[in-house]
């Protein structure tokens, strides 16, 4: 039993809600999501190939996370809808468990018969990561940290983060 509870009053209705309960808003689903700020690992006007994303998640929830790389302000699911978003399927855990995943960002190159003939990786200057859930469920879900793996193709002066 919590020491305090947070209640919310409905506009356009007569309901009083308690916050911090369940995984829907009065029966309506909501989505957790994060979109990182842009980073340029090869520096402004440099180029890098983005090969994968390390994902650290703590969870009990069974949920599918969806990951979309955004390179130079282009969300790659708009260009390659068969490949992106990359889906990370998490199974339910009886207690909070931290797991770490490496998701390849490669794009399969197929011939006209649909046979894989190779793979390519996103390449560009600015990289962002868009992550969202594919439908919440009972349990906990904690986004720990994402790490984008890259390889520099053409480097310019490295930007210096603030502080």
């Amino acid at each position: 039993m919590p020491d305090s509870i947070f209640l919310l009053g409905q506009g356009g209705g007569n309901k009083i809600f308690q916050g911090g309960v369940g995984y829907q808003d009065d029966g309506v689903a909501y989505v957790s999501r994060g979109r990182s700020n842009r980073v340029a690992p090869a520096g402004v006007k440099g180029e890098a190939v983005f090969t994968g994303v390390f994902f650290s998640i703590t969870h009990t929830m069974a949920v599918t996370l969806k990951i979309v790389p955004v390179v130079d302000d282009v969300a790659l699911n708009t260009l390659f809808p068969d490949t992106y978003p990359v889906e990370l399927v998490l199974l339910a855990k009886p207690e909070r468990t931290m797991e770490r995943f490496l998701l390849a960002l490669s794009i399969p190159m197929r011939d006209s018969a649909g046979v894989d003939r190779g793979k390519a990786y996103p390449r560009g200057c600015w990289f962002q990561l868009l992550v969202y859930d594919g439908g919440l469920a009972a349990g906990d879900l904690v986004y720990e940290v994402d790490e984008v793996e890259y390889q520099i193709v053409r480097q310019t002066a490295q930007i210096v983060p603030a502080s």
Binding site: M1, P2, S4, I5, F6, L7, L8, G9, Q10, G11, G12, G13, N14, K15, I16, F17, G19, G20, V21, Y23, Q24, D25, D26, Y30, G34, R35, S36, N37, R38, V39, V44, V49, T51, F54, V71, D72, L79, S106, I107, G118, K119, A120, Y121, P122, R123, W126, Q128, L129, D133, L136, L141, V142, Y143, E149, Q151, I159, V160, P161, A162, S163
Partner: protein, 727 residues
């Protein structure tokens, strides 16, 4: 954009921890790599982002009933209470509030009954002895007749919520659009079981949906209508300031003489809050100079009902309204729209007001919140922070409020409806922007887990949220004692139940549960009282004469009950000292008189027939509400007698003149009830005999319920037998 991977070699990574939250404004070259451009519906802490939980309904303002209700036990004509259940079918769960109406299938004339008392909550798929006005029509209603409710008590908006900590209860303010009424409800300390208290105010249509400031001061909850325009024309638009007494269930206008010449008049503050041991109200001058939006008044110390006309402050230029006042650690901060003042000092000798910020104020009255002596507020330029004593500091930079927003972020609503609250669970200051068009609420959340490094995120509630509040259920400690019930003093329809609060903390609520063991009804909660002392008593009413009752009492704090009394469905298992039994007196004491008023017989003609009218009257034993029937027979034998007429006695202490059954013919013999007996003259060629029978509860037992005589001996009628012979 898409290229082949080059040489296979160890590759570096860039870390993007979620917990830094939003930073949308620092610029690409200097922005923290670890910050995010968009983070939604997460709680930020320790470099992590935990997905927030949802919201779920725990209470409502107004009645509702899930499942199909039926009459549980036939009700006779004139009855004003019924029991309902699910008739063994669907689950029946809900609450019926006073003012809700219902009709019963098969009832003659299909009258609409209006619920009184309550609220009536289902216990075990049933509600026992629900009272109402509009008695059951002639012919009664059958067991298992379907009941159809109309929940007129349902509110259209939840305007405000407040925890009344001194009383360990909660208060909610609702609004009904159909009749423009502001309605007050009282519930448990956890905000549940909201019961209708009253409808004190009806704002003008021009007001729209009202907004309120609530402030608890010295065991009273003050409510001020937050509306800038006081009286732009002939009529007031701003409603009076009132206060709620949750013990007496009353809402009273605050009336004060603020100019020393007008006498006590209604006050119409735009807002109220507490500071030290004062109640503070703003936006109102005096009855003779009302529209003074720059005025801030303080009550006398420790007495929020007493106001000295001279105890006020003028915040800046006249006519520029004070938006809100809020206590910081060392002062009372007074917000106007684009500047900020503070009142320093602690009493009349030391009070003073000064400006502390010339540029920034409050965008809307409900957009400031105090957390740990510091005030977080939303200015015209975005969120800021002040502790008083100087200019406020900017919190808005990471939000980059003037830049394009994430395209799919829900749109914010009107700032006038926006509000803020600190949510202690995620340790987050939240500014809510409910959008009436979309029905969704955007929230700017500021994580204060580390107050020196607050972090922003967006939340999107999928409902339009109009208000929020932190509640403190007295639930961490269950009631350590229990009520020890004493000897009950039964009446004919009431019972005085005394008890002793053993080992009480002092904020317990005592619930009184009753069971009509004669009728076999389930236990129902007859009443509940907040702790007022070691020895308490309660007069429960609506009982049935001669019936046997079981009573069980228990203590409640928040959602917890005293040991052994947790099971609501089976009070038989509650501590023995908390239970007792009693028998209502049968006391439908025989009427002192049951006869016909001499000289009051009269004749009248209708439809070419002549009728005779007799007035019959009888004394009733006490001002109680009882149903009655008069039986007649052509023989002086009750067997075979038929109901001639029926009705309902009334509480003469309060309802003596308007019942239609009680009138002046009783003369000096009060309390009494009278009724007309009208007979077609030519049908009354033989004597008729009449018996007055107590029928409350619908369980007449021949011979037992007969009053005024016994079978074969209608005493009063022996004195004045009716014999309508032919003319």
């Amino acid at each position: 954009m898409v290229g082949a991977l080059m040489a296979d070699q160890p590759r570096p990574t860039i870390s993007l921890p979620w917990g830094e939250g939003l930073d949308r404004a620092s610029g690409l070259a200097v922005v923290e790599k670890s910050s995010y451009a968009d983070v939604r519906n997460v709680i930020l802490y320790d470099g992590k982002a935990e997905v927030r939980k949802g919201i779920t309904q725990v209470a409502q303002l107004g009645g509702s009933l899930a499942g199909a209700p039926f009459v549980n036990g036939a009700a006779i004509a004139g009855a004003t209470h019924i029991s309902i259940d699910n008739n063994g079918a669907s689950t029946l769960v809900g609450t019926i509030q006073p003012g809700d109406t219902f009709v019963i299938a098969g009832e003659a004339g299909s009258p609409v009954h209006t619920v009184t008392g309550g609220p009536w909550m289902t216990v075990g798929n049933a509600i026992a002895a629900m009272t109402f006005t509009g008695a059951i029509a002639a012919g009664g209603v059958a067991d298992n007749a379907a009941v159809t409710f109309t929940f007129t008590s349902v509110q259209d908006e939840v305007l405000e919520l407040e925890a009344v900590r001194s009383k360990n209860v909660s208060v909610a303010i609702g609004f009904k659009r159909s009749n423009l009424s502001v309605n007050v409800f009282k519930g448990s300390s956890s905000g549940q079981n909201m019961a209708f208290m009253g409808a004190p105010y009806n704002p003008k249509a021009a007001v729209g949906i009202p907004r309120y400031f609530l402030a608890e001061s010295y065991r009273k909850l003050f409510m001020a209508h937050e509306f800038q325009l006081l009286k732009p024309g002939v009529d007031y638009l701003r409603l009076p300031t009132g206060y709620i007494d949750t013990d007496a269930n009353t809402i009273i206008d605050l009336s004060v003489d603020l100019d020393g010449v007008s006498g006590a008049q209604k006050v119409r503050f735009r807002g109220v809050t507490t500071y030290l041991n004062y109640l503070v109200g703003w936006g109102y001058g005096t009855f003779s100079d009302e529209d003074r939006p720059e005025i801030v008044r303080v009550s006398l110390a420790g007495d929020p009902l007493s106001w000295d006309p001279q105890h006020y402050f003028i915040a800046g230029q006249g006519g520029q309204p004070v938006q809100a006042c809020m206590a910081a650690a060392q002062s009372l901060v007074v917000f106007k729209e684009s500047e900020t003042y503070e009142i320093v000092g602690y009493d009349r000798r030391t009070f003073g007001i000064r400006i502390i910020d010339h540029l920034f104020g409050l965008i809307a009255p409900r957009m400031a919140m105090a957390v740990g002596g510091v005030i977080y507020f939303w200015s015209l330029q975005g969120p800021r922070i002040t502790g008083g004593g100087g200019e406020s500091k900017d919190l808005a930079v990471p939000l980059d409020l003037t830049a394009p927003e994430p395209t799919d972020l829900t749109a914010p609503g009107d700032p006038a409806a926006a509000f803020c609250r600190y949510d202690p669970g995620p340790r987050m200051a939240k500014w809510f922007w409910p959008n009436e068009a979309t029905g969704v609420t955007r929230v700017y959340g500021l994580s204060l887990r580390n107050p020196t490094h607050p972090k922003w995120s967006y939340w999107e509630y999928q409902r339009r949220i109009r208000c929020a509040q932190v509640f403190f259920p007295a639930a961490t400690i269950a009631p350590p004692g229990h009520p020890d019930v004493g000897g009950v003093t039964p009446g004919s329809s009431t019972a005085l139940i005394p008890w002793t609060n053993t080992a009480a903390i002092g904020d317990e609520v005592t619930e009184i549960w009753l069971k009509d063991t004669t009728a076999g009804t389930p236990y129902y909660k007859a009443d509940e009282l907040v702790y007022t002392g070691v020895s308490m008593s309660d007069l429960v009413s609506g009982l049935i004469p001669t019936h046997h009752y079981a009573a069980a009492l228990r203590h409640r704090r928040g959602l917890l009950y005293n040991a052994g009394a947790e099971d609501t469905t089976n009070p038989v298992g509650w501590p023995a000292g908390s239970r007792t039994t009693f028998i209502e007196t049968g006391a439908v004491a025989a009427p002192a008189r049951f006869d016909f008023e001499a000289g009051l017989d009269s004749f009248f003609d209708a439809g070419h027939k002549r009728y005779i009218r007799h007035i019959v009257q009888w004394l009733i034993p006490s001002p109680i509400t009882l149903g009655w029937r008069i039986y007649e027979n052509t023989a002086n034998v009750f067997a075979g007698a038929a109901v001639f007429t029926s009705g309902k006695s009334h509480d003469l202490a309060t309802d003596g003149a308007n019942s239609g059954l009680v009138d002046e013919v009783c003369g000096d013999v009060t309390p009494c009830v009278s009724a007309e007996l009208v007979r077609l003259q030519d049908l009354a060629s033989t004597p008729y005999y009449y018996w007055l029978v107590e029928v409350e509860g619908g369980t007449y037992t021949p011979g037992l319920g007969l009053v005024g005589g016994t079978e074969g001996d209608p005493k009063a009628l022996e004195e004045n037998p009716i014999n309508y012979g032919p003319i």
